[in-house]
């Protein structure tokens, strides 16, 4: 399989990947290395993992990182309630200590969290570690261990080794600098906002019902809007929302009615100061330029 065929497969599942991203994904698959994706919010970092799992016809296991995430939520935890019930019923049956202990510390009583689940599948799943920059640095170190050895030690059970190597995709919004150790172990791609042609292809793939003329206008408008000095630059998801909103209102041309255009901007501009900055006049001007 070449990277071009991967790119085609992704396009078939309506994800238009740039050449850079396709090559990096291809390498991640063939070299079995984790892939670290960075980029602004809303450029499709999370979506790529979902689409990849579709093309590979495998499961997607997602670990959403947040501050305070620890091993018991990311790797494994004992099922205490069940253990307690078992102890109680064993006591009534007159079962003795050692055998009960063996039973309640077996795999049946282990709750698999995403990382452990990912390495114990039959078929390599796609493991998406989303927004790794939100997790604490200690967790990053723990993650490194799992990603390099593909094994998890449970003190009561021993070491669980991987039955498969998952396809690991890490995403980061760059709110914190990641450690060099993590970066070294991963392949890296910075996902940019797409250029005009790519974004048009994305719109065609996701909303095929949008007509050619309007599609051109939408993309032109959004691309121009990204050049403005905004607090939150609209991403691809916002562009698709914008297109859907225009379709819902039955608009055929952006320049027709400034008031309606202004009302649909709520899908693109997500802070108060941005909305104040792009007034109806400004929006009309941008739409005029884009057309």
């Amino acid at each position: 399989m070449t990277w071009q065929s991967l790119q085609t497969a992704l396009t078939a599942k309506s994800y238009v990947a740039s050449d850079d991203l396709s090559v990096a994904l291809h390498l991640a698959l063939t070299l079995e290395r984790p892939l670290l994706l960075e980029g602004a919010a809303g450029v499709g970092k999370t979506e790529i993992a979902r689409t990849l799992s579709l093309t590979q016809d495998t499961q997607l296991i997602r670990l959403q990182c947040y501050e305070g995430l620890d091993a018991s939520q990311a790797i494994y935890e004992w099922n205490y309630q069940r253990q307690l019930l078992t102890i109680r019923s064993a006591a009534e049956d007159g079962e003795t200590g050692k055998s009960v202990e063996d039973r309640i510390f077996s795999r049946d009583f282990l709750l698999e969290r995403p990382l452990l689940a990912a390495i114990t599948q039959e078929k390599p799943p796609v493991l998406l570690i989303d927004e790794i920059d939100r997790a604490d640095e200690e967790f990053e170190a723990y993650l490194l261990e799992v990603l390099s050895d593909y094994q998890v030690s449970v003190p009561e059970l021993g070491t669980i080794t991987a039955t498969c190597k998952p396809i690991v995709i890490l995403t980061s919004n760059g709110t914190r600098d990641l450690s060099d150790a993590l970066r070294r172990r991963c392949l890296y791609t910075y996902v940019e906002y797409p250029d005009r042609a790519t974004e048009l292809a994305i719109l065609k793939a996701r909303c095929p019902q949008v007509e050619g003329h309007l599609a051109n206008q939408i993309i032109g408008f959004v691309q121009k809007l990204r050049e403005e000095d905004l607090e939150k630059t609209p991403g691809i998801a916002e562009m698709l929302d914008f297109a859907a909103a225009l379709m819902g209102l039955g608009i055929a041309d952006l320049t027709n009615d400034p008031a309606v255009l202004q009302s649909t901007l709520t899908t693109l501009l997500k802070t108060q100061s941005d909305q104040a900055q792009i007034t109806s006049d400004v929006a009309a001007r941008i739409a005029g330029k884009a057309a």
Partner: protein, 393 residues
Amino acid sequence: MTRVTRFADRDPGPAARVVGFVAHLRDNGLRLGVAEADLSLTALTQVNAAAPDECRRVLRAICTGCKEEAERFDALFDSYWMDAGRVKQRIVPKPQATLSKSVHSSRDGSGEDAGSSGTSTTPDTEVGEADSDGTGKLVATEQRNLSRRDLRDLVRSDEIAEAEAIARRMGAALRDKRSRRRIAARKGDRLHFRKTIRRSLSTGGEPLRLLHKRRPDRVRRIVALCDVSGSMSVYAQVFLAFLAGLMRADKNADAYLFHTRLVRITEALRDKDMMRAIGRMSLMADGFGGGSKIGPSLQRFADTYAKRFVDGRSVVLILSDGCDTEPPDQLGAALTKLKKRSCKIIWLNPLKGWRDYAPVAGGMAAALPHLDLFKAANRLDDLAALETELGAL
């Protein structure tokens, strides 16, 4: 299409070229090891290695680790593979110098001086000082100072040691802010109820062992921005020593210089050799002692680096006199933006130590409402005296 570099006939093959390329990247500051060279070779077998664009993408995915590196990569790739007119790296392995043990020489086998591998910058302070008009005015100037000045002449190593001690104390005062959230700990002030109950299961529901939790100390990150424009050159010595000391004392700290542009000097200052670190910094601080554009520099900081390095646990330390050539509202806007990242902003102004000083300079007046602390500092002692105030923030 651009020309492809023609390698010499005695070139031992593609493997050596790739290794040479990795060495070329390493020389240009990318941190790469043997593993990356190995991985690059393996990866190139997975694609059509004859197509330059594919190689570029493959090597970029492997050899870069962050956005800045990815941006620089293209130029480095072109210079090595596309014959972009740079000095070509030697890719033929150098024959081992076969010197007998009894011969001691400072020159290596090829006759080059072994000590001359580092590039040295010649101090040209005389030129730099001759440029000043000698009236001693402290005003912001418009023009960029194009003369390069070696900062090593300004900073002495014993001063850095002193500054390091001060920076360490300041860091300690600033750094440890207690978190509101409690986490499990061996010695804590409260019972960790959930863990205690769960642990009690193993003893049949009797909580024999009590587990505790406490509020952990969260590290606060110090981000220092130092103005090195002409009007600040008298104080540069103190502040640069302070920055160098700070970087050595606190591995989380982050440092920037600005005059008409903003430069990140964190990496340069992390160099183990203290004077070499200052040397690297002076190479980056091109335009040192020129005009000051505080507003645009801070704006750029707020737009780029701050998004990555500044959060609610950061303390932004601005070392500047506030003499800005740009309109003051830009400075105000930049600080507003910075403040939205819920960091603390401290402005240390050397002029404030003067008698009868009032922050009437447009820039300073615009900045004042956004500051958490506005203090004087023009000697290392002044910085040391700040310790208690910073602790109270």
